[in-house]
């Protein structure tokens, strides 16, 4: 039976499309169906929700897969059990004012690039791209612009030349006609172009000790998310929009649907993370952070597919 029916789950920015499956699972009642009562705590950012998990104030987190790798380096055993987003969902674009001069990643030399925060995944992705294009990350200057309206303001005011950001900021900027996209990892094509394959983004992860102590609870939560992914795979944008709270619509349903359509491919359809995409993720981190030695990371300890397998078996 379920060891811990009352769960607390952490997330860093629940209304973001990045975490759409979480909101859907909640709104569709899938947690209840599994006999779980989930209290969702929203944090100032992904790193804060991870800290809450390690500090023991939340039981589960929907956050970046990358965290599981970094935590292994910090001797914290954190494991993902299901993938929610298979592509990072990050877009690198340039301001329309600079669209003529910056046509590819290689042109970013000397540019002022806005990222959500220094050290965050948007920051790392640009650095990765630059290194891959034979530049040093020091060749551009990075400016933390935050995750909300301030990012839009920075672009509008011409404070930054380029931006590496997520939805809904990207969709909003596109909608305003401020942005020319350089790299789009929301789509299969875009992601393959950068990584040559998948690169897992949002996952559901736990502490290893929690998984051991509460296997049934973890199973139930995995089931709920798996069901959500399946629902999402078939859902129309209209259905999605109708399911999430109206406030999430970015003030305008059309914009929301546009944003959803742009991101749609990034959501995982089967929840699995394969060897190749794990390596791809590790490669991304190791390239940009010299402190992490890829040889010391045991990728098999970052993802535990057993729950997903059972969830699949149960549904099919």
């Amino acid at each position: 039976e379920i060891e811990k029916p009352n769960l607390t789950l952490g997330v860093g920015g629940k209304p973001l499309l990045y975490y759409l499956p979480l909101t859907l699972a909640e709104r569709l009642g899938y947690f209840k169906d599994e006999g779980l009562t989930v209290e969702i705590n929203d944090f100032g950012g992904g790193s804060k929700s991870l800290q809450a998990l390690i500090g023991g104030s939340v039981d589960a987190v929907t956050g970046a897969y990358e965290h599981t790798i970094r935590m292994q380096d910090k001797k914290q055993d954190i494991r993902a059990v299901i993938d929610l987003g298979r592509y990072p969902g990050i877009v690198v674009g340039v301001s329309k004012r600079k669209a003529d001069t910056i046509k590819s990643v290689a042109d970013l030399k000397g540019a002022k690039i806005g990222v959500t925060a220094p050290g965050s995944s948007t920051y790392i992705l640009v650095q990765y791209l630059m290194i891959k294009n034979g530049m040093s990350p020091d060749d551009a200057s990075f400016i933390g612009v935050g995750s909300g309206a301030s990012a839009v303001a920075a672009m509008q005011k011409g404070e930054i030349d380029a931006i590496s950001h997520l939805d809904p900021v990207i969709s909003k900027l596109q909608d305003m006609g401020e942005l020319t996209v350089l790299v789009d990892t929301r789509t299969t094509a875009g992601t393959e172009a950068v990584f040559g394959g998948m690169n897992p983004a949002a996952v559901l992860y736990f502490k290893e000790s929690f998984i051991k102590a509460n296997p049934n609870t973890v199973q139930a939560l995995t089931n709920a998310f798996y069901k959500t992914l399946k629902w999402l795979e078939k859902a129309t944008p209209e259905e999605v929009a109708a399911t999430v709270p109206q406030e999430y619509w970015l003030g305008d349903k059309d914009l929301y649907i546009k944003a959803f359509n742009a991101t749609r491919e990034a959501y995982s359809t089967d929840g699995n993370i394969n060897e190749a995409s794990m390596k791809s993720a590790l490669n991304l981190i190791a390239t940009t952070d010299p402190k992490i030695d890829p040889a010391k990371i045991d990728l098999s300890k970052t993802f535990d597919g057993s729950f997903l397998a059972k969830a699949k078996a149960a549904t099919n």
Binding site: I40, N41, D42, K48, S57, G148, A153, E247, L250
Partner: protein, 264 residues
């Protein structure tokens, strides 16, 4: 130079109306093709008001308001009591004060945002981690003022009280405390606002309810109307707490002559 209460209210409403009018015009009338207060960042007064009403009518706000209120009041109480106690202690023990002085100042300079994860680690995700954040703001404001307030005690009044044979506790009750009171209340007026800021920032950084949570949710999806509605409620809210503080102040400071600077 006292204003009639009705006239005062009228002037206050006038200011509010003027502010709303500027806001409205800034948000809806383009000046040189640009809006002074673009709707995307500032919403519109009417929308915000409508949202506030909606929040109250639908009843969703009550739960959040209650949580934030609890946090604010707790932060305010714990922070000010702590500030008063430590402030007095330091003021009466110059050696302690001299030794800890640099550390107090150092701690006061730490950005609370960074401390949030530590509070969550120690105090969990419930209200207490938010209270702690509020306390770190309130405490210092009250502390510095009480510390100074005690040092400003009139030397003659103090000498007289000591000659009467008052012990430390009696001196506290009869001399230091009443004398430092106007300093303390001055700091409390600032602290009320900061207690709320602490609670809301705490919620903003990680929570599942409260006004800060509401604002954070709204911010993530560019729901400026929601953000402003939240701030509005918050601001109205602080007036209530401040009113309580002012009442207590008036009660406790009956003995004061009218401020000389206000007479004419």
């Amino acid at each position: 130079m006292k204003l009639h209460p009705a006239r005062l209210l009228f002037l206050q409403v006038l200011v509010a109306v003027a502010a709303l009018a500027i806001w409205h015009i800034g948000a809806t009338v383009p000046i040189g093709g640009d809006y002074l207060l673009p709707e995307f960042f500032f919403s519109k007064p009417w929308d915000v008001l409508a949202r506030v009403v909606e929040l109250f009518v639908s009843g969703t706000i009550w739960k959040h308001l209650w949580i934030t209120l609890t946090e604010t009041v707790l932060a305010f109480l714990i922070g000010s009591i702590g500030g008063v106690v430590i402030g007095f202690w330091f003021a009466r023990k110059p050696v302690v004060a001299a030794v800890f002085d640099p550390y107090v100042k150092m701690v006061n300079a730490l950005p609370r945002v960074v401390l949030a994860p530590i509070f969550m680690l120690w105090l969990g995700l419930g209200i207490w981690s938010k209270v702690a954040l509020g306390v770190t703001l309130v405490f210092f404001i009250v502390f510095f003022n009480v510390y100074q307030g005690v040092k400003e005690v009139s030397p003659v009044v103090l000498a007289n009280a000591r000659m009467m044979g008052m012990n430390e506790r009696q001196l506290f009750r009869n001399v230091y405390w009443p004398s430092a009171m106007s300093w303390m209340f001055s700091s409390l007026h600032t602290a009320v606002g900061f207690a709320l800021v602490g609670a809301v920032v705490g919620e903003y950084l990680g929570s599942s309810a409260g006004l800060g949570y509401l604002i954070h949710q709204a911010e993530g999806v560019f729901d400026v109307t929601g953000v402003f509605a939240g701030m509005f409620i918050l601001a109205a809210f602080v007036l209530v707490i401040d009113w309580v503080v002012t009442r207590v102040e008036k009660r406790l400071l009956v003995w004061r002559p009218q401020a000389a600077s206000e007479q004419n």
